[in-house]
């Protein structure tokens, strides 16, 4: 329909219609439109099962292995964190949501480990840079948990303990 708000009508404030009657009523286009919507309607009524909608809380989408989901910290074989508190993740983090306090570790081959390690999931933008920065493969975003919900802001700030035991069946934040 050749009608634009920059057209002559808009400019002249509606002084005399340049459009022909049928066009002004849009009748033809209305019928075409109604044909389209009716087609969609009927198709969907009779092929309801083919609708692309995912019944979300019942059905979960499979985002594949590259989904960056809630973080977790890996453990060494003895159960202590693999993280050496190098702070590369917190340095690279664009939203500055990782805070780490390092401490000395008695084991000579470890030397350093995190005393506290918190991530503010509300601030996190799930960019995955922390995972890429980590030299020890200590932080991963492969839990598959993408529903990050809690009833207070504090609960979004997750700590070392949480992150170490954070798997798909783990506790929610």
């Amino acid at each position: 329909m050749p009608y634009s708000i920059h057209g002559p009508q808009a400019a002249t404030g509606g002084k005399g219609s340049r459009m022909r009657g049928a066009e002004l009523w849009y009748l033809k286009e209305i019928f075409r439109g109604m044909y389209v919507t009716a087609r969609h309607f009927l198709t969907n009524v009779f092929h309801m099962a083919d609708m692309p909608t995912l019944q979300y809380p019942d059905e979960k989408p499979n985002y594949g292995p590259w989904l960056r989901s809630r973080h977790r910290l890996m453990k060494r074989e003895d159960g202590t964190p693999r993280c050496v508190a190098c702070q590369m993740c917190s340095t690279v983090c664009p939203s500055d949501c990782i805070s780490i306090v390092a401490m000395e570790d008695d084991r000579p081959d470890v030397e350093k480990r995190p005393e506290t390690f918190t991530i503010d999931l509300l601030r996190c933008v799930y960019c995955g840079m922390c995972v890429e920065a980590c030299p020890c493969d200590a932080i991963r975003m492969d839990t598959g948990i993408f529903e990050i919900a809690a009833d207070s802001r504090e609960k979004f700030v997750v700590d070392l303990d949480f992150l170490l035991n954070n798997t798909t069946d783990g506790v929610k934040p």
Binding site: L24, Y26, L27, I30, T37, H40, T53
Partner: protein, 426 residues
């Protein structure tokens, strides 16, 4: 006394009818828009965690929620008019129904009970009068809310009503000429005959241009898309009802649907033969009542069985998908349909051969005719929904131009041509 009882009964029927259809329409609007847009639509609310009826429980839940919501009244409003407005809108939407016939008369012995509420000679003029009142509710709401958006919404609505009322009036006038009566029931009766021997003598065939004009005006009068400028979310937030909450808002909301149903009733009465079943007038219906009943029971049985089978299939297919009681729904509904099928079959077996007697046949005819009216009304109600999810909103200048520069001349033309034809035919 009996007169009053019958009148009350008819009013009750009308109210029940309107409110039931209203619920179905709200559901239809949500579900229909969803299907049109390739979505699934509401389907979560349930009764007992089992029965969801494809979202039909949602309107009920909504109403319950709105009932229990806090009734907020903003500080700066004019309380009296603010409170009155939603009632005005709702009442006006409902009283329009008074002149609408929803069936042929019922004959009880020598008593004739016409199936319409008010026996008014002015008939169709009543419709025009009342619908033009409904703008008051909206203007009142807009003004009393003391909010510039609501006010603009009210103003828009007024201008729009005034513009389109004329076109509606012109279309109706042409109809008056054709049918030669202002009474709606008389018009419906007229439409029971055949045109050229094969077409039902429906208004739409006699007045095609009038129908289009009437339909368009009705859309405008009910403030529905594409003429819902009074609500214009993009510029007026939600128009005249922004300041309303809880049940007052619900009244506006329901009134919109109620007036749509009324409008649908009028469209079907004026242009589609109202309660008339095409090609089957009352007499034919009564004569062959037994046969028709038998056939419809058979058809009913077959369809119910079909539904039951489909639902069973669905139950089998979807078992284990959701992992809770919701899975039982197709099973439950399937059983219901199966029972219905059995009932139909049983009725066929028990009641055959078919002889309803004169009285029974008359009642059967009435029921069929009322059903015919309801079906037509439902269809036109659906048309409102369908159009809403097809067309975008008009711009205000387009709206005015359409009303005054196109529809008005066409309406006049239609009127004079009809008058001439009627004059010549006489």
């Amino acid at each position: 006394m009996a007169e009053i009882a019958w009148a009350l009964g008819k009013i009750l029927f009308m109210l029940v009818f309107v409110f039931t259809v209203l619920v179905v329409m709200i559901w239809g609007e949500r579900k229909g828009s969803a299907f049109i847009q390739d979505r699934i639509g509401p389907n979560r609310a349930s009764i007992g965690g089992v029965i969801r009826l494809g979202g039909l429980v949602h309107p009920v839940a909504d109403v319950l929620k709105l009932l229990f919501k806090e009734d907020l009244v903003p500080g700066a409003v004019n309380r009296f008019f603010y409170t009155m407005a939603p009632f005005v809108v709702m009442v006006i939407a409902l009283v329009t129904f008074a002149v609408l016939p929803f069936g042929d008369a019922i004959y009880l012995g020598d008593k004739v009970i016409p199936l319409r509420i008010a026996d008014l000679d002015v008939g169709i003029l009543y419709l025009l009068a009342i619908t033009s009142l409904s703008v008051y509710g909206i203007v009142l709401a807009g003004w009393a809310s003391n909010n510039k958006y609501t006010f603009l919404g009210g103003i828009r609505s007024t201008a729009q009503m005034i513009s389109y009322e004329i076109n509606m009036g012109l279309a109706v006038l042409a109809l008056l000429l054709v049918y030669g009566s202002t009474r709606v029931d008389a018009m419906v009766v007229e439409q029971g005959q055949l045109l050229f021997g094969f077409l039902p003598r429906w208004g739409v065939f006699l007045q095609p241009l009038g129908f289009v004009l009437f339909l368009t005006s009705v859309f405008a009068e009910t403030n529905r898309t594409p003429f819902d400028l009074a609500e214009g979310e993009s510029e007026l937030v939600s128009g005249y009802n922004i300041e309303y909450s809880s049940m007052k808002f619900a009244l506006f909301f329901m009134a919109e649907y109620a007036s749509m149903i009324v409008a649908a009733g009028f469209i079907s009465s004026l242009y589609f033969g109202g309660w008339q079943v095409p090609w089957l007038d009352t007499i034919t219906l009564r004569e062959h009542a037994g046969t028709f009943l038998g056939v419809s029971l058979w058809v009913g049985a077959v369809f119910n069985l079909l539904f039951a089978a489909l639902l069973w299939k669905r139950y089998r297919r979807e078992r284990g998908l959701l992992g809770d009681r919701r899975e039982l729904e197709p099973l439950v509904l399937g059983i219901v349909f199966f029972i219905l099928a059995l009932v139909c079959l049983g009725a066929v077996v028990i009641a055959s051969p078919w002889n309803l007697g004169e009285q029974g046949a008359a009642h059967f005819a009435t029921v069929v005719q009322v059903l015919s009216f309801i079906l037509k009304t439902l269809f036109f109600s659906w048309l409102f929904i369908w159009v809403r999810w097809t067309l975008p909103r008009f711009r205000y200048d387009q709206l005015m131009k359409l009303g005054w520069q196109l529809m008005l001349p066409l309406g006049l033309l239609n009127f004079f041509v009809t008058a001439a034809v009627v004059l010549l035919a006489r």
